[in-house]
């Protein structure tokens, strides 16, 4: 007889993994076959269009990680296409350097693209959405102006001839296969990223940045990797574009092109690879069907963008997501299996308490916390109650680094926790949930839970790009742990469902499963019972008790007094940022002031 965990997870996880992997790969295989066979039925001009679609996709595939996954509104990516095109052409022409081979020039263009991708992207780490959009727009205008003005290198308005690749890529179909091959590689690499912990972390930054930080995801490092990659493929696309055009002038790099790239992604749908791929093909081919459309193409793209934003924000990807159109069972009970915790947690290292000493924080004139002492011990449930505005959530936010206390210390194992650096909390195994669940709605429940284990991966971004063994091992481990966490909270049957289709109570348990992925030494729960049915609250209580029994110190902020008194070892009552009372549930229940002020006679 095997353990319940062994019974459940490997078989299910594998089943879910392989079958969905195959159905996800199918459309790509069809496109691959179509692309390989294309020269058989399309001739002449259609060859140019097909090559152009491939070149565009090389760029869009990288931009897709920036726009579709990380959610950064990068409009001016044509700047990098321009850079790549001129770098390759000028180096091959040999006007300023010795003549280089087109392959070497293309590699240099990739490096230059990566560098400038980083420069264009860096402001995104500090600026808000619209600001970043505007700076990328600025880059796009300026690069074209430079190309026009720097005549000695770029040929100014006259332009420069594009590079010609040697045999076998010098013929039309030869060059087509070259571009098609690169496009296929880009598809494969970005799909690897999309299904890796990095891809999930990007969507978490996009849709639930606060939760991403709590899971230990450091935005700067991740975005830098994405901008480098995206810039490199854009540089390569530029070189290919120059060859395709045979001759380039600054006029070739209009903002319209940038708009095409950007809109292809949004029409395709954010957080998808297939959608933007189809979007790119659609937008490249669309104007060719009717000659008068060419002048109107950008206008039509803009109309499409508006329609997409207003009517189907999910884009093509959502239209193709048949799996999530199947109705879910209407009466679904959440049945946690706390006994699985020991398999999920394994052996937990024993630490000492998480303590707050004389912590104070005011917002303007309001003292939100006013000299608070608190100790959360491993293996115990510590309840934090009090009326609205008494400082409960603020306390939680100080511990997890969203606010910096102005006075006092929060310390773990005797060492003070650094102020602010939120994502480091996860490395110290401090996990939390939120008052309103912070979930990536467009990702599946399983993926949401896997986000919680992001910091446990060993592979690097580059390893994930190429799907090297460490990446695959990470994925298998994370998937298995996430299935186990889902089974523990009783949601394993919903693993493959889009999270935004879940009921409120299921989102609460999903957040707990995500937090459990850290095997937390301390778990901070912010009103986990809010909106739950009485049955669910009972099961939640049992789950929390089991989590504490497994060695985790739990801080429970709650309004449900019954739950608090049933499961807590220790209760602190806050009022106006100060401790009104502290003690065992029995002591608190008979504390006169507490009963009068808060619990009611």
């Amino acid at each position: 007889m095997s353990t319940p965990a062994a019974q459940l997870t490997p078989s299910r996880a594998n089943l879910l993994g392989t079958s969905s992997a195959w159905s996800a790969a199918l459309p790509f295989l069809v496109l691959l076959a179509f692309g390989l066979a294309f020269p058989l039925f399309g001739g002449g001009y259609w060859g140019v269009i097909a090559t152009r679609a491939c070149v565009y996709w090389v760029l869009v595939s990288g931009l897709n990680l920036v726009v579709g996954f990380a959610g950064q509104i990068a409009i001016g990516w044509v700047a990098l296409l321009t850079l790549g095109a001129y770098t390759t052409s000028v180096l091959v022409a040999g006007t300023v350097t010795p003549e280089l081979s087109p392959y070497v020039a293309l590699a240099i263009a990739a490096v230059a693209g990566a560098l400038f991708g980083l420069i264009i992207g860096l402001p995104a780490l500090r600026l808000r959405t619209f600001y970043f959009a505007i700076t990328t727009l600025g880059f796009a205008t300026i690069v074209t102006q430079i190309a026009l003005a720097w005549g000695s290198v770029t040929g100014g308005g006259v332009g420069v001839a594009g590079p010609v690749f040697p045999w076998p890529f010098d013929s039309q179909w030869g060059f087509y296969y070259f571009c098609f091959g690169l496009a296929a590689i880009c598809t494969w690499m970005t799909a690897n990223i999309a299904s890796s912990r990095f891809g999930r972390a990007l969507t978490a930054i996009r849709d639930a940045e606060v939760a991403a930080e709590a899971c230990g995801i450091a935005k700067p490092g991740l975005l830098i990797a994405v901008f480098l990659f995206s810039g490199a493929v854009a540089g390569i696309a530029g070189g290919l574009f120059a060859t395709l055009q045979t001759y380039i002038t600054p006029d070739a790099f209009t903002l319209d092109l940038s708009v095409l790239f950007f809109i292809a992604i949004l029409i395709g749908g954010r957080g998808s690879i297939l959608g933007p791929l189809l979007g790119t093909m659609l937008l490249t081919v669309l104007p060719e069907f009717a000659a008068p459309l060419v002048a109107w193409s950008t206008f039509l793209y803009a109309v499409l963008l508006l329609v997409i934003v207003l009517v189907i924000p999910g884009g093509i990807a959502e239209l193709l997501d048949f799996k999530n159109r199947r109705p879910l069972e209407t009466h679904r009970a959440i049945l946690p299996r706390p006994e699985l915790l020991q398999h999920l947690f394994g052996s937990m290292p024993q630490g000492s308490a998480l303590t707050l000493k004389e912590v104070a924080l005011s917002f303007g004139g309001v003292r939100a916390i006013d000299g608070l002492d608190l100790a959360i011990h491993p293996g115990q449930v510590h309840g934090l109650i009090g009326p609205n505005g008494s400082g409960k959530t603020t306390t939680l936010n100080v511990i997890s680094g969203y606010y910096a206390q102005q006075h006092g210390v929060v310390s773990l194992n005797g060492a003070a926790l650094p102020l602010f650096v939120r994502h480091r909390r996860a490395h110290m195994r401090i996990a939390r949930t939120f008052q309103t669940p912070r979930i990536v709605g467009a990702a599946s429940v399983l993926e949401n839970v896997m986000i919680g284990g992001t910091i446990d991966g060993a592979g690097t971004f580059a390893e994930s790009l190429l799907s090297l063994p460490r990446h695959r091992r990470d994925e298998a481990t994370l998937r298995e742990a996430a299935m186990l966490a889902l089974a523990t909270v009783g949601l394993e049957r919903l693993a493959g469902v889009r999270a935004d289709r879940l009921q409120h109570s299921e989102l609460r348990f999903t957040e707990i499963a995500r937090a459990l992925m850290l095997r937390p030494a301390f778990l901070l729960l912010d009103e986990p019972a809010a909106g739950l049915s009485p049955d669910e609250i009972t099961r939640l209580g049992a789950l929390i008790v089991a989590i504490a029994k497994a060695g985790t110190g739990v801080l429970l902020v709650e309004h449900h007094a019954d739950l608090i008194f049933d499961i807590c070892h220790h209760v602190t009552v806050l009022n106006l940022g100060k401790t009104l009372a502290a003690g065992t549930p029995a002591q608190i229940r008979s504390h006169r002031e507490v009963v009068n002020a808060y619990l009611g006679g």
Partner: protein
């Protein structure tokens, strides 16, 4: 030379400042930055040239029609691109919807008006001089708008209502203010201001569809540096930007001037993302 740097700098700066004010008026009413701000400036030039030069209308009538055209586009922006996404959970959709609308109008101008820069009529029958109307008209427009807005906000009941919406739209609605109509009025006002910027600066910028992205970018710099919703900051930053750009233009040439402006913009923003005048951080958790 110094004189012409200052004159053209202040003139261009006034146009940037006015586009900045256009951004701000829309932002105050809706918390939305709209990509259509620069498009409005472009429309001011193109429509002015269309009405006066091509259709031969009297200048006063043409001017009035340009303002009305801008106001109408402002209202269309509110209805099509802002209102539908304000209630959406996805907070950044407005960037995309206003971008789509801006692109549509820009492309429409490129197709119907043409992609060449065309001359803008001389508005006043005065002799050309050093202190020419092409310089002082934008400055005058800028002064008029700023004084007008101050009077509107401080001394009229509708101005107070605008301020209330800008301060706290939720509370304003609870007080019974017609938030939606006030927002539409703000967008109409912003539309007229944007069109005025393009019209007054028509002789400098010409009637050119490509002014739209250019003004969208350079008009946002005063907003970013002056602080969101801060009109005085926008005017000061706009004038500074104009002077800096023209000085760089004369000293090192056009292209490197744009690069210099851009570099300064990025660096300032990276050092002080909240603008030079400062602002509060948002509560996130």
């Amino acid at each position: 030379m110094l004189q012409s740097i200052i004159l053209s700098g202040l003139a261009i700066g006034s146009i940037y400042a006015l586009i900045g004010v256009t951004y701000n008026v829309m932002f105050s009413a809706s918390r939305v930055f709209s990509f259509t701000a620069g498009t409005l400036g472009m429309l001011g030039g193109v429509l002015g040239s269309l009405f006066i030069t091509r259709y031969g209308m009297p200048i006063a009538i043409g001017f009035l029609l340009v303002l009305i055209g801008g106001a109408i586009f402002g209202i269309i922006t509110e209805i099509l691109a802002v209102r539908p996404v304000l209630r959406s959970i996805e907070q950044h959709l407005y960037v995309l919807s206003t971008l789509a609308l801006a692109l549509m109008v820009q492309q429409l101008a490129a197709i119907e008006w043409g992609t060449d820069a065309r001359p803008f009529p001389r508005l006043l029958d005065l002799a050309r001089g050093d202190f020419d109307q092409q310089y002082w008209l934008p400055m005058l427009a800028c002064i008029a708008v700023i004084v007008g807005l101050e009077l509107l906000y401080r001394h009229t009941i509708i101005g107070h209502a605008f301020l209330a919406i800008a301060e706290d739209a939720y509370a304003a609605r609870a007080l019974g203010l017609p938030e939606r109509r006030l927002r539409m009025a703000s967008f109409a006002l912003a539309g007229a201001i944007g069109a005025l910027a393009g019209f007054a600066g028509g002789e400098l910028l010409l009637a050119f569809f490509g002014n739209a992205p250019m003004l969208t970018f350079y008009g946002f710099i005063p907003v970013a540096l002056g602080g969101m919703g801060n009109n005085r900051g926008a005017v000061a930053a706009g004038l500074l930007l104009g002077l800096f750009q023209q000085a760089a233009n004369f000293e090192v040439g056009g292209i490197f001037a744009s690069v210099a402006v851009f570099a300064v913009f990025i660096i300032v923003l990276l050092v002080r993302p909240e603008g030079l005048s400062g602002g509060a951080l948002q509560r996130r958790v």
